[in-house]
Subunit: 375 residues, 2 copies
Amino acid sequence: MFSFDLAARSGQARAGVLTTPHGVIETPIFMPVGTAGAVKAILQRDLVELGAQIVLANTYHLMLRPGDALVRERGGLHGFTGWNRPFLTDSGGYQVFSLEGLRQISEDGVRFQSHLDGSAHMISPERSIEIQMNLGADIIMAFDECPPSTAPREAIAAATARTTRWARRSQAAHTRSDQWLFGIVQGGLDPGLREQSARDLIELELPGYAVGGLAVGESKPDRERVLDDVCPHLPEAKPRYLMGVGTPEDIFEAVARGIDMFDCVLPTRNARNGQLFTSEGRISIRNARFRNDPRPADPRCACYTCRTTSRAYLRHLHMAGEIVAASLLTIHNLAYYLDTLRAIRQSILLGRFEEYRLETLRTLAAPSAEGAGTA
Amino acid sequence: MFSFDLAARSGQARAGVLTTPHGVIETPIFMPVGTAGAVKAILQRDLVELGAQIVLANTYHLMLRPGDALVRERGGLHGFTGWNRPFLTDSGGYQVFSLEGLRQISEDGVRFQSHLDGSAHMISPERSIEIQMNLGADIIMAFDECPPSTAPREAIAAATARTTRWARRSQAAHTRSDQWLFGIVQGGLDPGLREQSARDLIELELPGYAVGGLAVGESKPDRERVLDDVCPHLPEAKPRYLMGVGTPEDIFEAVARGIDMFDCVLPTRNARNGQLFTSEGRISIRNARFRNDPRPADPRCACYTCRTTSRAYLRHLHMAGEIVAASLLTIHNLAYYLDTLRAIRQSILLGRFEEYRLETLRTLAAPSAEGAGTA
């Protein structure tokens, strides 16, 4: 039902094939974020056209609304949403730890108040796994403790040790054979803690491992150093998932260090704010220089938006607050991410990833990138 | 370049073929409203899949943003938006007359302040036609004065006479042969004024006529009485457009009186509020009884939304404030309107419109309609 096979390597970068009950995922992969069981502002058929292979959904949001029991009754996330390709759910840990002031942490788990209506809830490792079994994603995550990376070393050490205990409890609670449970390596920015976390979790022989606790405000060099510390300790034969990362530049750096899976709200959230990722760098469609610009959002993109609209029209729709602006820009930004990951994979298969990485990072860093609209 | 041919009659109801430079429109037709040059919350390709044959855009909104000069530079509405089927633009009259307190009316035209930024503008018949020539829709409307239907008879009489003078000025200002200019019959609820307005405008030998000043709060019987008064005076061989109307019930009544064209924000606006038109009557997707309902929005509909989603999922997305809820519900509501108009046309061609009208009105009025979700 499940397998992960490495098809090629280019330096530390890996091209793999991850088989799940709902289909095959070619890695490195970007997973669009569908917080409430739907990727924001885009229809499923448009996601399919873009070649999205897996969607991430958020346990915290779905347990509160519509409730995991209802989702289970309606056939799990696949039956409820009609998305018949793979899903991944997070553990809810990251979200509840973000509820500063509304949550209490103990060895048992986290008590918190809903951001929707203030109602009281508890997530323990067992409850997180119960919810995720009800949601029925193909890949689910162990419940972890995510302290801020700026917390004192002792606090991070304690949270990291607890994450291991919670991973054990998560594993013990998990009884569905049609789901893969991944562990999450914590340890903040401390190489020793990261290595310890990786070693402890690997003993559990989980089918995949994530690197958590990043993309929370640390610097880019710190983030890359953590990957340098962690990746060599992860099993070669298992998929590696960098949670919540990131920019296109971040993804190139992480693939170069051996990461296989990514998720991030950037392409979808930025789209709703009028920020576009293009082959020439980022642009804000609000910029007045696009007012009368007949060119597509990205001259090198073949997505529906770039095939059928001009920057002038996109800018107008965005400035007018039209919902279709969000849809059109979301289609393009996801096309950019998914196309980029496909190109990365192909470059790995051809043994020229490093060349492609340097070339792309150079283009994205070029001063002309910011001026993409003025050419 | 233009023609209008009647293919069949069933009682007073008419099935026609309206040929324009951007394609053929089969009447009776419903025109989705694309205020700012885009139908809200739906992509053009989804409109095409639904069989939308013409879109209405608003002169007032487009002159203010992005500006009609810019739209002209980008190739008119067709070039600017990429919609390559027919467009119709209104004259801007209805919108500026709605700016109570922000506008001054004179024989020359209407001075008003933008609802966007308070800037001062003027629309005269000549300026309205200039804007509409810049926008380049296939069908454009004469600039009319729309008093409230509750205004004193003298005020309505004066506005109606002015509408005729403004129609003459609109006609004189109009120089594009690739656009049809329609006149707008006014006269409030007064049969004499309506008849006079129709006679005066018919003398101008415009290629089509609209009935304006309705759908502004008058009762349903009043609205139908006006159509009873006006329609017999309109030329048989020319298209007839009832502006801003209406509910499915209204459309059946108007087709029965010989109207060919309709526009209304109801299907799109209601979709964004969670209100659905179905073959069993209207439902609010917010209703708690749909929480766990696996059925499609409308069991007799074949649109993308009804093919791929359940009421339970639609309700969840709407309650969670997801943009895709607006898109999915808009697709369904427009499918309902466009399918209904196609069925009306077919029933006219088969000579059984009256049967279909009575049958549908009975279904929509049945007490079970409101309970469609409880069966």
